[in-house]
Structure formats: C-alpha cells, structure tokens
Symmetry: C2
Subunit: 90 residues, 2 copies
DNA sequence: CATGGATGTCATACTTATACAACAAAAGAT
DNA sequence: ATCTTTTGTTGTATAAGTATGACATCCATG
C-alpha cells in the first residue's frame, strides 16, 4: 500500500537543522544509519520516526527530542533568533 | 506472528514512575489512550513505543523523554536519591 | 477457600515505520 | 544546454507497534 500518512504526523525541524549543517538527505541518512528515502519521508512528515530513530536524530543535532519533534507546529526560527517581534513585516 | 522483539528494545522507567503514582497498568493505559496490554509490552520491553506515544508518556510524567527512555540501561534510582555512594552493601 | 485485581502469555489482525528500486522534476555548476 | 546532485513520487516488501480476546498465574483479602 501507499506510504501515505493517515494520522496527523508530528512536526519536526529536521530539514532546517540538516540545512544548517549543509548536509544532503543522503549524507544525513548515512550518518543516522537509515535509508536516504527515510529522511525524505520524515521531512515531508509522511510518517513519524521510531523513538529509537528520533533519539539518534536529536542526539546528532545535540538537542532534546522535544526541540526536534513536536505535536504542535514549531514557531518560525525568527522568533528564536529575534525576540520582541511577533508580527512579520519584511 | 509473535510480538517478540528482535531488536534490543529501549530501556524505560515506566514501571517505576507508574508505581510511584500508585497506578495500575490499566489505569495508566486509559490515561494514555492505549490498550492496557500495550503498557505491559512497554514495561516488559517487548517493544518500544512510537515517538508519539513516548511523548504522551513523558508529558504525563512531566519529564523529558530522555528521562523516561534511554538506549543505555538506567542507573538504579538509589543513585538519584542518595549521591556519594556507588557500591551496594545492604 | 473463593473471589477479584494485577500481571504475564499466546494468537491474530491491522497500521505504521523502514528499505529499496526506478524514475521525474528541480536546482547548481560548468 | 548538458551534467550532476538533490529532492519528490510511486510502488512493493518486510519489520515493528498497537488493539483485542482468551487464558494462566500470583497475590491480597473477605
């Protein structure tokens, strides 16, 4: 069957964190020891990772799991980079 | 097929945390919204929970995921309760 | 002892996570 | 414009997580 998700997948920051390191999905996949397609699935939120994989991912990025995965959408990085402004302008 | 785990399951502190709250598996299961057998499987480490379930569990116990689940065995609670002694005696 | 609650075990079924292959589309570099 | 890398898509296959039902065991307590 299709790999399409039925349940609402968890949100994650894998793509941003990976991009920040200048890694391709294939490179990150190799580091994590998973298939490169798996990273794609995770970033596209077609499914959530196993707890074990989630731990390897957050360990690699040196962040707590809750900073990489969340049941509720992540705020834009801007809010972490520049506090005191909520409205966007340019 | 059997539900027996092939891969080495993650360690967790669900049983202790649940016992501390004086909850039965059935009660915890209801709180978490899973089948009561599932809690048993997790405590017996017959398999690891999904990331989503792990998040619900750690949220309920008000602990970070890493404090409830670990790839390496947890030290005995004694070491958290009484620092300064590593060897057991009585 | 009998009853009940909590736990462990077994079997079956369904859903989800992961792997892998092949190909299309997008983006970058030359 | 071609070559290469990266990403998205589709399809198939296997493993792992979860639900359920049935039954056994252990322990407490009436």
């Amino acid at each position: 069957m299709a790999v399409k998700s039925t349940a609402q997948a968890l949100h994650n920051r894998i793509a941003v964190l990976r991009t920040e390191r200048g890694l391709s999905r294939a490179q990150l996949a190799e580091i994590l020891g998973v298939n490169y397609q798996t990273v794609g699935y995770l970033e596209r939120r077609e499914y959530a990772p196993s707890l074990d994989l989630a731990m390897r991912i957050s360990a690699y990025f040196e962040l707590p799991i809750e900073s990489v995965f969340s049941r509720t959408p992540f705020p834009p990085i801007r809010t972490a980079l520049h506090r005191g402004r909520s409205e966007a302008s340019a």
